[in-house]
């Protein structure tokens, strides 16, 4: 199987080949370097003139791409590190995310301003890059009306998610790629000895213009689950490892719900699982305070009331990410911490 990196890189090649309106903008994206994480490798050689290496001006080139999108192109922006999204926050929040709704109050379909823009960026820690190159900052953008946020994982087809986002969505979209996903092999969910998968949201969604799946993952052959885990991005990998060990070492059976759309929030697949298990652990790499997990817990509680018997979060500590390996491991969620959290939940009943 290809790696997630290969899958995303192939998707960018396909997007450029299939639609001449697609452009790539970002820092150091030209070959032979091909981007800081190599997701854009080979593109500038294959598509000269359509891969634009930019000055160090995140706000400037994000703004440029917004203007291009408004005028009918389909630009894809790479922000080298997700931490640098803050530099483009005004462009994303006060410009890109606003325009469709703000401008189109009484306009016919043909007169509407649309903004097909994908902003890709790597997030996350575990590479020792320290406080300004390791963060998981998407929580700051999840509550922005008008901005779609997607996050691929190693399950299924991460490249297809990106390709569909570029070619089919007509609204600004943030595509969050955890750095540690890049080197993972894509998991073919139709052939696996260890897990069995179900897919939700496999119909084209009106808001997105395409189908962005939510996955349900169970240990193959396990008894009915007593707990629901939910996670996205690289946390899915850790959650699966925990799921396996919980089953084999502790006889605790959990099922895992994996969204690829973070905003707008999709609750249905998770709620279906929670009706079965009555217990929820949300796992996220972002900081705990007022994050994605808080929203998921709030919505689960609103929807289920007393039928949700146990609900907890596992997230990064509310600290910057330290550079030192042992300290960084303390701050971030891990397989061990997931297992401990699940065991505590089951002990508490």
């Amino acid at each position: 199987m290809p790696t997630v990196l290969d899958s995303l890189n192939t998707a960018l090649h396909q997007a450029l080949a299939q639609d001449e309106r697609v452009l790539i903008l970002g820092e150091d994206v030209l070959d032979p370097y091909g981007g800081a994480f190599k997701v854009t490798r080979g593109l500038s050689n294959a598509f000269p003139g359509r891969v634009l290496t930019t000055p160090i001006s995140e706000a400037g080139f994000t703004g440029l791409a917004i203007g291009m999108a408004l005028r009918g192109l389909r630009p894809v922006v790479e922000i080298m590190f997700g931490d640098f999204l803050t530099l483009a926050a005004d462009q994303i929040i006060n410009h890109a995310a606003k325009f469709r709704w703000m401008y189109n109050g009484n306009k016919s379909e043909a007169e509407q301003a649309r903004l097909p823009l994908v902003i890709r960026t790597p997030m996350g820690g575990r590479r020792g890059y320290g406080p300004t190159h390791s963060q998981t900052l998407e929580k700051h953008f999840l509550g922005t009306p008008g901005l779609i946020v997607l996050s691929p994982c190693a399950l299924g087809a991460p490249g297809k998610l990106l390709l569909d986002a570029i070619l089919l969505t007509n609204d600004p979209l943030l595509f969050v790629e955890n750095k540690l996903l890049y080197l993972l092999q894509v998991q073919d969910i139709s052939h696996t000895d260890e897990f069995e998968f179900y897919i939700y949201d496999d119909q084209a969604n009106a808001e997105l213009g395409f189908a962005a799946p939510t996955y349900l993952c169970r240990v193959r052959g396990a008894p009915p689950p007593i707990l629901t885990l939910t996670a996205y991005g690289y946390m899915v990998e850790l959650a699966q490892q925990a799921q396996r060990r919980l089953a084999y070492e502790h006889e605790v059976f959990a099922e895992l719900v994996v969204p690829t759309v973070l905003s707008p929030c999709r609750m249905q697949p998770l709620l279906i699982s929670l009706e079965r298990t009555g217990g929820l652990l949300v796992i996220e790499e972002g900081t705990r305070h007022l994050g994605w997990g808080a929203e998921i817990l709030a919505r689960s509680t609103e929807a289920m009331g007393a039928r949700l018997k146990r609900a907890y979060r596992l997230a990064a500590k509310d600290l910057p990410i330290p550079a030192s390996g042992p300290l960084e491991a303390e701050v971030l969620p891990s397989v061990e911490k997931i297992i401990q959290s699940c065991l505590e939940m089951t002990r508490r009943g």
């Binding site: 452009l23 400037g60 440029l64 291009m68 401008y103």
Partner: protein
């Protein structure tokens, strides 16, 4: 067929009366929020935008009414937008600062629209439309860093764009001397963007220069800048002018684009234009006033 002098006078007079009508009626509670009027700066918008072709693109800022009307926007739709009516330019969602109609876009955050304008210009260049893009910014906006990112990118990638800096010498209440180091033209020179500087309120001085710069941007597919030293006669928004009354009175006497340009028309021609424009403005105001508000279903 109306002479170009008469056309320009009409365009400026409509803006003047629109803005005065807004300020006169604000205390009556017919408008939402606030407003930023273009009184005194009319020659800039009209002198530049009168040259636009249908495919050209315009980006504007918080002080956008004059730009919108000079672009050809409807008076009634603009009044209605300020009143929060369903018939407004954006159905009442945007209000005074957030307009979009055809190829006209404005936003209320300083500076952010400038790289977007450069991107639009580059998109038109790639599409081969030969459209030029115009973006208006003020002296106050020159404090925003993203403006210089946009200048750099526009020059680097040769965007067919005209940057129009309207230096009205005051940002809300802060005089330009307290906010701006160095010179405005040197900012463009640093990026090798040819800039033309005018200190005038005469539309007939702005008109030919703007035409030449737009043609250069279009023909050479490259950025150009027009720096217009100008004066606003009204407050930043409604009642927040801290300048002494005699200073404003002197400005109105020496730098009024309507007086300067009106002198070129015969009294009867001028009066006819003014009467027609007045009638148009008042009718549009009354129509907008009678238009319904949007409802929850319009959200």
């Amino acid at each position: 067929m109306e002479s170009i002098e008469a056309e320009l006078y009409r365009a400026m007079y409509r803006i003047r009366r629109f803005e005065e009508t807004v300020l006169d009626n604000f205390p009556k509670g017919v408008f939402f929020g606030t407003t930023h009027t273009y009184l005194g700066q009319e020659a800039n918008a009209v002198g530049v935008l009168h040259h636009l072709r249908r495919e050209d693109v315009v980006f504007s800022n918080h002080r956008c009414h004059g730009h919108f009307l000079a672009y050809g926007g409807e008076v009634r739709a603009l009044f209605a937008e300020l009143m929060g009516k369903a018939s407004g330019v954006c159905g009442g969602r945007g209000g005074s600062q957030h307009l979009h109609w055809r190829n006209f876009y404005s936003n209320g955050v300083q500076g952010g629209i400038v790289p977007i304008a450069a991107g639009a210009a580059l998109a038109e260049k790639r599409k081969g439309t030969r459209a030029a893009t115009v973006v208006f910014l003020g002296d106050g906006t020159l404090g925003e860093g993203v403006v210089y990112e946009a200048f750099n990118l526009a020059a680097l990638w040769q965007a067919p764009i005209l940057f129009v800096v309207e230096n009205n010498h005051i940002a809300q209440t802060t005089p330009v001397e307290l906010a701006l180091a160095g010179s405005i033209s040197a900012r463009f020179a640093a990026f090798d963007i040819p800039a033309h500087e005018l200190d005038t309120s005469d539309v007939m001085e702005i008109f030919p220069i703007a035409s030449a710069l737009l043609e250069q941007a279009r023909a050479q597919s490259a950025p150009r800048a027009l720096i217009l030293h100008t004066w606003r006669f009204g407050p930043h928004s409604k009642g927040d002018d801290t300048r002494p009354a005699d200073v404003i009175a002197r400005l109105r006497q020496s730098r009024d684009p309507l007086t300067l340009h009106g002198a070129r028309l015969s009294q009867s021609e001028k009066e006819a234009i003014e009467a027609q424009a007045e009638e148009e403005i008042q009718r549009a105001f009354q129509q907008a006033l009678a238009d319904p508000y949007p409802t929850a279903a319009d959200l």
